[in-house]
């Protein structure tokens, strides 16, 4: 994703980017002994936060997205930052209202309110000329359709040719789940928490939204992994002996 020029350029231009690891990812590696080695990760996951300069979380994109939707989400994040910052002393209230508006729409299966940049076409061409306005979902769709005609990405954000349509379909479906079910959970979480530091919501995010318990050595999979563990009795006996 971050090797895609459109995505990387958009991030570099509009954000101060940083990545951090919340824990090592489980890695499975099989050496078949004949020079063939298979390595892969299991149960990893990601989250994209947008934060203020004092490190307060404004919003979060959960998991993996197809690139166009991801870029759209990042643009919304850029505008959200502007929208909240302009409220100054009322920033926390405005942020809460934003999350509550998203919750209401998602619960009603409606297109959530979105930000549009009212700085104007000429001004918008100037770097950092932003006047973010939150408008109803339908109105934003019309605005975006008009905007898309004049602002096309430099590439079409396609996956390499060796990726098949099935992969796109799965990614698109996952994106849809992220944008509905998981985003609703996140808006509810952030509406309740207020503008907090990322570490205040990370564990909850991973456990409840992304289904990976960071406090568990087996990421919450232990019960499944050891459901048929044949040495449970033997191991329990040893533990008793050692005590």
């Amino acid at each position: 994703m971050f090797s895609n020029d459109d995505v990387a350029n958009f991030i570099n231009k509009n954000f101060e980017p940083v990545w951090e690891s919340v824990r090592p990812v489980p890695i499975v590696r099989i050496d078949f002994g004949n020079g063939t080695v298979l390595t892969r990760t299991l149960h990893g996951n990601i989250a994209t936060y947008v934060c203020t300069a004092d490190g307060r979380v404004l919003d979060i994109l959960p998991g993996i997205y197809e690139p166009q939707t991801y870029l759209h989400g990042l643009n919304q994040f850029r505008l959200l930052h502007n929208y909240v910052a302009r409220a100054k002393d009322q920033a926390a209230t405005r942020l809460k209202e934003y999350h509550e508006g998203q919750i209401r729409a998602l619960k009603e299966n409606e297109t959530p309110p979105q930000f549009v940049n009212h700085a104007g076409v000429t001004k918008a061409g100037i770097e950092r000329a932003i006047l973010a306005v939150l408008v109803p979902g339908k109105e934003a769709q019309q605005w975006n359709a008009t905007s898309a005609k004049t602002h096309k990405p430099s590439s079409q954000l396609k996956l390499p040719s060796n990726n098949d349509i099935a992969n796109w379909k799965i990614l698109a479906e996952d994106t849809q789940i992220n944008e509905t079910t998981r985003r609703l959970q996140i808006h509810e979480m952030l509406a309740a928490a207020g503008p907090v530091q990322p570490k205040a919501v990370t564990k909850k995010l991973y456990k409840e939204v992304l289904h990976a318990d960071l406090d568990d050595a087996y990421l919450g999979l232990g019960q499944t992994l050891f459901a048929g563990y044949p040495f449970a009795k033997e191991e329990l006996g040893r533990e008793h002996e050692s005590k």
Binding site: M1, F2, S3, A8, N12, N14, F15, E16, P17, V18, W19, E20, P24, V25, I27, V28, R29, I30, F32, T36, L38, T39, R40, L42, G44, N45, I46, A47, T48, Y49, C51, T52, A53, D54, L58, G63, I64, L74, R78, R128, L159, P160, N163, N167, I170, L171, E173, D174, P198, L210, H211, L221, T224, L225, F226, A227, G228, F231, E234, E235
Partner: protein, 130 residues
Amino acid sequence: MLRKKWLLVLAFLTVAGLSAYGQQKSITAVDLTKFTVIEKAAEKVLAHNTAGVVAGDLTKTVRIEKPTSAILAHNTAGVTATGKEFVNPKVEAGRVHWHPSLAVACEAAKKSGKPVFLFQMMGKLDDQFC
């Protein structure tokens, strides 16, 4: 110790499905960080090894992760595991100009007026397998 061996056995069985479908070669890193090479392989393994994938829960949670759990839970045959220390090769973390820490990014944001973009993940973005 038994638990470690058990995990190795489970890990082997999880991935062993690949060999049956002609995916025995090492996975090469391509920088669509999580969903092209690594996740594609996982998806294919699980697609062929699991019955009754639930619709609507997808790339990372059910279609990949839950069936993985199912494989692990139902395969208990013993396989001896011999392990060498694995070193995750370093790769470029895309074309984004990353700050080294959240604190540094926040300081930069104070000067530039831009928001902070925090990408949180399991593993490391500059590791081949992340």
